[in-house]
């Protein structure tokens, strides 16, 4: 029987939650990297034992961790366990934690400053890795979305990272500005049908697409409406919170924006609002059912000023029609006095026959539904605030 492994990043460490296909009894391990913020953990779809984690700290900076045994042991890819940490001449071997913006003349363009909160130009400064997206074909290739917004890639299993500088250099970079959570590149979607096509999203610049494997990029924000942006047709400046796609239909995208839930039928060239009957269209995560490309999940949050569920009721909303018509999923979720948030990377689905849905809260709960959202139960209740949730379906 297949089993699942849920990878949970929290403000104070990582946790792995494992179960068989019934998803009733769970084994919890952790905290791994205790005391550090774990922004994201994700496994390779090619090799489920290969995991990558972003470990970060306001004090000590960015660490990349890798596991080759499904999370039992971890190491920094530049210094594999058991090997000398330096070359014979004493030089440090690995630079797996080093994210340096590309300022080479070859990359062209300014690549130097972006718009700051006060409207002035501000230098790009690396802060942390928000999201790690392993390649769909090679376990050694991983994309990293970072703050200040940029896209990096490793092709050697995380030992070294290099920027895909065409994104920042394509022209609109000086107009990007940080959202309240920083200027982060938080979403990376790899098109399974076209290895040269990648979608990314940045708060609060918007969504972007490359069709040449990252050399050139263009904004894909037409149809997004953002309050307070003077130009209603602004090419960038939209606070996209998350994008999702179904692998069978990669040209159809779903977006949870700061406000508004959106859908694109043309790979982001244009967007239409599909918020429909949601109680509020503010929120962070958005996910698509593993087997039903038109079934979408969001977690409505009251407002940008009040980051908790409306009426103190934690409700996942599901649309089986690709948006516009939404139903509240409440069975097993707290329906009173609940004031947690669900962050943008904290929702995931497994690919078992009966699709499992998972999400984590800032209150430390991780909920699962083994029946596509009809009923829910907590796997754990008292973790540190959950930042990210990913799930692996393991044969």
């Amino acid at each position: 029987m297949s089993r699942v492994r849920v990878l949970v990043g929290t403000r104070k460490g990582a946790f792995l939650l494992e179960s068989d296909g019934k998803r009733e009894n769970w084994k919890v391990s952790g905290p791994h990297f205790a005391g550090w913020e774990i922004y994201h953990i994700k496994g390779s779809s090619v090799d489920p034992n290969r995991l990558y984690a972003s470990q970060t700290s306001g004090w000590f900076g960015q660490i990349i961790q890798r596991s080759d045994d499904g999370g039992k042991t971890w190491h920094q890819p530049g210094t594999p366990p058991g090997e000398p940490t330096t070359t014979p001449d004493g030089t440090p071997k690995g630079e797996s934690n080093k994210f340096v913006y590309d300022t080479s003349p070859k990359s062209g363009k300014p690549l130097t400053t972006h718009q700051f909160y006060d409207g002035t130009q501000h230098p790009w400064e690396f802060k942390r890795v928000w999201h790690l997206e392993p390649s769909l074909t090679d376990p050694d290739t991983v994309y990293a979305g970072v703050e200040d917004a940029a896209l990096f890639r490793t092709t050697d299993g995380g030992q070294t990272w290099h920027e895909l500088a065409g994104l920042r250099g394509h022209g609109t970079g000086p107009k990007w500005q940080p959202g309240a959570g920083g200027m982060c590149l938080h979403t990376i979607l790899l098109d399974p049908s076209n290895p040269k096509r990648i979608f990314i999203a940045i708060s609060s610049a918007g969504a972007f697409r490359t069709d040449d494997a990252g050399k050139t990029w263009r904004p894909i924000n037409r149809g997004l409406k953002s309050q307070y942006i003077p130009d209603p047709n602004a090419e960038v400046g939209h606070c996209v919170h998350r994008i999702a796609m179904h692998r069978s239909r990669p040209g159809v995208l779903f977006m949870q924006k700061h406000w508004d839930v959106m859908r694109s039928e043309d790979a982001g060239d244009s967007w239409q609002e599909v918020s429909g009957n949601l109680p509020t269209d503010f929120g962070f995560p958005i996910e698509v059912h593993a087997h039903e490309p038109n079934t979408v999940y969001v977690v409505p949050i009251k407002s940008d000023g009040e980051h908790y569920p409306p009426e103190g009721k934690l409700r996942v909303y599901r649309s089986r029609t690709g948006g516009n018509e939404w139903e509240a999923l409440t069975k097993g979720l707290p329906q009173r006095d609940c004031y947690v948030n669900v962050l943008r990377d904290a929702m995931a689905v497994d690919s078992l026959d009966s699709c499992g849905v998972y999400f984590g809260t800032t209150g430390g709960q991780v909920y699962t539904s083994a029946d596509a959202g009809n009923t829910w139960a907590p796997i754990v209740r008292d973790l540190p605030a959950v930042v990210s949730v990913e799930v692996q379906t393991i044969p």
């Binding site: 005391g35 900076g61 530049g78 934690n97």
Partner: protein, 98 residues
């Protein structure tokens, strides 16, 4: 021999227990001590000083002989008591918040 104390999170990261004893080439300075530390524990590169600028990270401080040496130039000689190993060189994660 220079004796260095790391903050707990960095000891965990580098799999170190207790203090670290480092042999430093030439005069004992912040830079030479950190160079020696990172050469032995490359996983610490970037955690105490920036990968590129080599500037001390903002919330990391250096103390020795009951003095805050954080703002001393990186090539200034460390106190003799540190250079001789009589006193410890402390790398500290700043306490912040309430």
């Amino acid at each position: 021999m220079i004796r260095v104390i790391l903050p707990p999170h960095l000891r965990t990261l580098a799999n170190i227990e207790g203090e670290v004893a480092l042999q430093v080439e030439g005069p004992a300075t912040q830079r030479s001590v950190l160079d020696a530390l990172e050469a032995r524990y490359p996983m610490l590169c970037g955690t105490i000083r920036d990968h590129v600028t080599q500037q001390r990270r903002p919330f990391v401080r250096f103390f020795a002989c009951e003095e805050d040496l954080s703002h001393e130039p990186p090539d200034a000689p460390l106190p003799d008591a540190v250079a001789s190993g009589a006193e410890l060189f402390f790398i500290v994660g700043a306490i912040a918040g309430g």
